[in-house]
Symmetry: C3
Subunit: 286 residues, 3 copies
Amino acid sequence: MPFANDYKPTHFTLTETSPTLWRVTFDNPPVNVIGPDLMRDLKELLTELENNDTVKVVVFDSANPEFFLAHYDLAADPAIAEALPGTTGYAAWVDILVRLTKLPVVTISAIRGIARGAGSEFVLATDIRFASLEKAVLGQMEVGFTAVAGGGATARLSELVGRGRTFEIMLGGEDFNGELAERYGYVNRAIPDASFETFVDSYATRVSKWDRRVLVDIKSFVNELTLPVEDVFPRQSDAFWAAAARPEFQSINAQLFERGLQQNSHIERNLGAEMGRTFPKPVSES
Amino acid sequence: MPFANDYKPTHFTLTETSPTLWRVTFDNPPVNVIGPDLMRDLKELLTELENNDTVKVVVFDSANPEFFLAHYDLAADPAIAEALPGTTGYAAWVDILVRLTKLPVVTISAIRGIARGAGSEFVLATDIRFASLEKAVLGQMEVGFTAVAGGGATARLSELVGRGRTFEIMLGGEDFNGELAERYGYVNRAIPDASFETFVDSYATRVSKWDRRVLVDIKSFVNELTLPVEDVFPRQSDAFWAAAARPEFQSINAQLFERGLQQNSHIERNLGAEMGRTFPKPVSES
Amino acid sequence: MPFANDYKPTHFTLTETSPTLWRVTFDNPPVNVIGPDLMRDLKELLTELENNDTVKVVVFDSANPEFFLAHYDLAADPAIAEALPGTTGYAAWVDILVRLTKLPVVTISAIRGIARGAGSEFVLATDIRFASLEKAVLGQMEVGFTAVAGGGATARLSELVGRGRTFEIMLGGEDFNGELAERYGYVNRAIPDASFETFVDSYATRVSKWDRRVLVDIKSFVNELTLPVEDVFPRQSDAFWAAAARPEFQSINAQLFERGLQQNSHIERNLGAEMGRTFPKPVSES
């Protein structure tokens, strides 16, 4: 029973590989969007991990071989997620990511399939990112929606890949495959898919056997040295939500939904490229 | 008419690919040194871009296939450039680079040929650097002149390539080809020359179609997170000019001019290597 | 006579390649652990270099082809090293590394063989790290001893390799070969062993001929931009020594010594892997 309060997550599976190593497998068909239900599950997980003093490592992966986490759920009423309780006072998605970075637990993303937008932001907020060389796709396509990324991708990327590559990723909104993501430092390493599971399991198992206290101390020192000044996160979130309220964003969103957004569709699989062909319609047409 | 004030640049060509995408092609034969005339052109360009609210992306390239920007013009009277009007109060070259980083416009260097010294500093102050795999050469050879780089290369490199590689680049003064420059993060990416133009055009065109407001917001957030504390720039500039006034610098400069500096010469093409064979002459010989 | 005070180091050889280029060759058989005698030698070297105004470059290498610096001497009485005079007020190892980063001299690690734990911290505190592609091994295995690294590896790595890779290195405690160390930015470059010496000599010789004043200025500017806030070092050192006093650390240490630690043994050569098979014994067995 991983959750002390008997909470039953509905949008991911939680597997207790051992008392010190947990696996969270996202499972929100058809493409693993990040909606209010998954966010509720994540907030319950965070509360559990903030208080559990046994678990040492959590690996995040996906039940869907094509999608790790597609992106934020653009069809959901944002008020539902914002009404979920949090601990930071920030908007729901920021609350989740800021708490994730500070957990007294090592978090590892095992990225197979697509992680764009908020899905990319989720992996950027875990401690370590391992990617399948052939199957991982990462990107921040918010620029194509006329919005800045709302979950702090700009801040987390700039620490990992430097100013120039942050500009390229955030201003271009393109997809990055595993190989290029490694070259840029967007992920720790891209591992050939045939050995991906073995590699991740081996690393996670190893870490899960160390002394818990030293893992907490290392996280604390690295956090102190590398986390951005936190006030950047609510400001980027506010900028996202301001953009999302504008007609340009809504015009693009409506067009993409007509073409299959949030389905396992051509447009969702190729969203990096498709964004560059989708623009706000003039007000008279919209 | 890109310039609202009808200014006619003489040392670069400005092409309006579209109202939102401009191309600046450096053209100051024989090797594109950065002298007072080119600096005047750049300052006029900055003023235009600071006030133009249509253009979104500017690509910088070179009309000379061997030289992107060779380096600062070491034959010119520095007083001419320093007399040009600026907005920051800094020395002319610092004024240009600091304003370049803050433009409400995306700037991309398309580097074919040599970009050393101030030429390297120019590309480091643009948002994104794409380099020809076979034809790009970057370097900061000021150490060989007995000077620190005056336009902030030390600060901009350390954000991109980290402490160890910044030391190697700045203390060695050697040339870096496109492949190694990418490996170090000195450039975003090195692209095979055969597809270089297509790659750069495709990226720049894509960005030039996004909402202008979001591009400005992204630049603002990345600048806040990654620009160095600004007072380092005037201090590095002062250190450069102090060195340039010393007899050691002038002895090396004189020797290099005798051997063809600022011409399309063996020494200018191989300046990284040649610096290591050129030392100040004893005072009695100079 | 490199040492002005005629000090004779016993655990490294100091070679004056030229008045401006020195070579320090670690030689503390069987595996170059960092014990009180080597630390005394290093402190004398630092004092010499802090006061010598001729030498410009110091290259650090090893007389042992398999070990650059194995790690801290875990058999020595720490009180001996702590009793050595220092200038910073910090614990002995921190005193050495902090002073090393601030020397008015360029420091280059020429890494062949193993540099783990404090050995890795030593190379991280030099300005530039060149590694043999085939023969270098780096790692921070302190986590396996239930301790954080005490000499600031966390801080120095995060500046070089970014947050995600710092977590992977520090939390995993695994070995990194030259190729992967370069990809991560842990070293500047991995050079094929056949050309390693030529490469390092060529770079070091070149730098040793530049104007000394400009080298000092460059170091000063890069230090200002890239050194961490210094108070992190004593706190990490304290955390290491607190862990070293605990029974878990001592149990692992005892087990490893029984199996050949600090000898040229299987376990010392494969310490990254072996750590993952060695855990504290329950108190009743220890």
